[in-house]
Symmetry: C2
Subunit: 354 residues, 2 copies
DNA sequence: TTGAAAGCGCTAACAT
DNA sequence: ATGTTAGCGCTTTCAA
């Protein structure tokens, strides 16, 4: 890189006729400065078009005003939305965003954490759908500010966390489907190594149990949150001797696959088959029929995570806060009572447990 | 941040029993080093778990191994896809990604460019749908490596650019629709201040002219690449005394709105109304009917941009290369000959011009 | 082939 | 209230 040397703090100092630490003080909002000098510095900054070199500031022990975000996969709408809201919230707080994607390789997480926390960033956000790992423990011991965003509630007991009532959300779907009168409800799971997948499966089982419905293992088919696996799963489910009257897919994308299999077999949704998803990605509302699903408060998650991280940066010793955001059952058009039931099944009493 | 002090190059030097500039040399692949010392250094690095502080390296005149990406809006699938592919390509090249979103505020572009190019990054990528701006000129004069990604072909004449044959893509859609027999084709434009929108509109007009079809201004309705405006536009178009038999929307999201308006009026796509979009975002294939659209080579764009930037970093004085990637007409299910035409209209001769 | 030392631009003591 | 100075961790001369 050739061309005019960037304007440094020293240029400003010379231009304003003050020492360069005074310039630094003005720039960092240090209180006791003669109004005159402050004005002169500000003018010089303006005139010269100076702006701070974040690397240098950070190296010198200041803050970098950069935060690192490590995500698992940028490709799905869920992640993309959360990233966007984090990005927006961070912009308000005048922070830069360094983004790292592990592309699904878990071993890269620790590497990226290491790179980023070596002076590069003031804080770290992790949007990684996995369980506890050693680097979190280290981060915690170093009192390095970080926050975890996950769509379930338990990670470990020392990490600041933003999560959602996703288990409850899955339960809500099931309760809704059961109340509609469905007794054979198929379930397409998420990627089994994700905690979120296990949680939703548990909720599926819990709801069945709570309403005294039998658990038929044949109705549970393992997916991976992707279209293709869900397509296969749906085919298998509908080929069952006693096929389900409703299918609950562990995420919206999987639900879209259910739509397509149904359509290819001349089955109408919801008349012949009810379908519910999870996430409420933007296109779910545009589908036909519009998908009944569980909304994850994606925007709120990003905002909460940002606030939590800012608080932690301000005081790295504060106890780990955990924010749990509510999911919401979004009832649209893809579910109705099963074709052959005379009328919706009304749970007469309280479910057992819950 | 408290806790164990990060391992520095000096620690490694002490551990290996060499001077710390030797460590630096080993780490940077400097050739003339005694194999023994090299081994000892490497072992010490391993034992201590050392990794370089990118800030310091960058400040000291090395490279930061970080590249900056400025995008206009992370929220749309188009951007998200390109960002993902850039991210992936960059990871292969062992670069970090600093992401900046202007959230549509053009005045922020220059600010971000300034921040990022002050030592923070080795190169810059811009995914911003606008025309020439002064900061590009400056970047060019400084020989600061950057590349522009836009979906049209002309930006300025000195910027390395990755673009697509998007004008041709729009023309292809029109030719296809015309060949199908449509004579009244509605057009929902993109956001007027985007060059891409103007280009697609031009292509629309050019195709009409080339095939000797009249240009009815009533058939052109201004949108903004968003669902809502396209919904309004479609309503207006279908309310015309002589409504179009086909609607070409300047992006897929707008085409989805056309679907919905059609559906709400009991019009079947494509039987009663043909619909074409632009972009080929992932969900377009899942819609029913599957959307005929123009595929932008989003992944290839990210890869090409990365390669171009790497080349420019390697030699900042190389002449600006422009890579133009082909779009592709993806014919799916949403278009067919107009209901009342006896048979598809076949352009008998070459169109005039093209 | 290697070590010593001078900065990169900045912040934060330490002076005054 | 302000100037002086010592680093932050590293790369890169410059010597040897």
């Amino acid at each position: 890189m050739i061309g005019p040397r960037p304007v440094t703090i020293k240029d400003v100092a010379r231009e304003a006729g003050v020492s360069y630490s005074t310039v630094s003080r003005v720039l960092n909002g240090y209180p006791h400065i003669h109004p005159d000098k402050r004005r002169r510095v500000l003018e010089a900054v303006d005139r010269l078009g100076y702006s701070v070199n974040l690397q240098a500031r950070s190296l010198a022990g200041g803050h970098s005003q950069v935060i690192g975000l490590i995500v698992h996969d940028l490709g799905n709408p869920y992640t993309a939305q959360v990233v966007q809201s984090i990005d927006e919230a961070l912009a308000h707080a005048e922070y830069e965003l360094v983004l790292h994607t592990t592309h699904g390789h878990h071993h890269k997480e620790a590497v990226y954490v290491d790179i980023l926390t070596r002076g590069m960033v003031d804080g770290l956000m992790m949007l990684i759908p996995l369980g506890p790992t050693p680097y979190l423990q280290q981060l915690h011991e170093r009192r390095f500010p970080y926050v975890i965003i996950c769509d379930h509630q338990q990670y470990d007991d020392f990490s600041p966390t933003v999560s959602t009532t996703s288990r409850q959300g899955a339960y809500d779907v099931m309760r809704y489907l059961i109340a509609l009168g469905h007794r054979r409800i198929g379930f397409i799971t998420g990627r089994p190594d994700f905690i979120s997948a296990a949680e939703r499966l548990e909720a599926y089982k819990a709801a069945l149990a709570a309403y005294g419905l039998p658990l038929d293992p044949a109705l549970i088919y393992t997916g991976d949150y992707q279209y293709r696996a869900a397509y296969t799963a749906t085919t298998a489910l509908l080929d069952l001797p006693q096929p389900p009257t409703a299918i609950f897919a562990a995420n919206d994308l999987s639900a879209f696959a259910v739509y397509d299999v149904a359509r290819s077999r001349g089955l109408r949704v919801p008349d012949d088959l009810s379908v519910a998803g999870f996430d409420d990605v933007p296109q779910s509302a545009y589908m036909h029929p519009a998908l009944t699903t569980v909304r994850q408060p994606l925007l709120a998650m990003g905002e909460a995570a940002t606030r939590l991280l800012m608080d932690t940066i301000a005081d790295p010793n504060r106890p780990a806060e955990r924010i749990v955001l509510p999911t919401e059952l979004i009832i649209r058009e893809s579910c109705q009572p099963p074709a052959h039931s005379e009328r919706p099944f009304k749970p007469s009493a309280q479910p057992k447990g819950e």
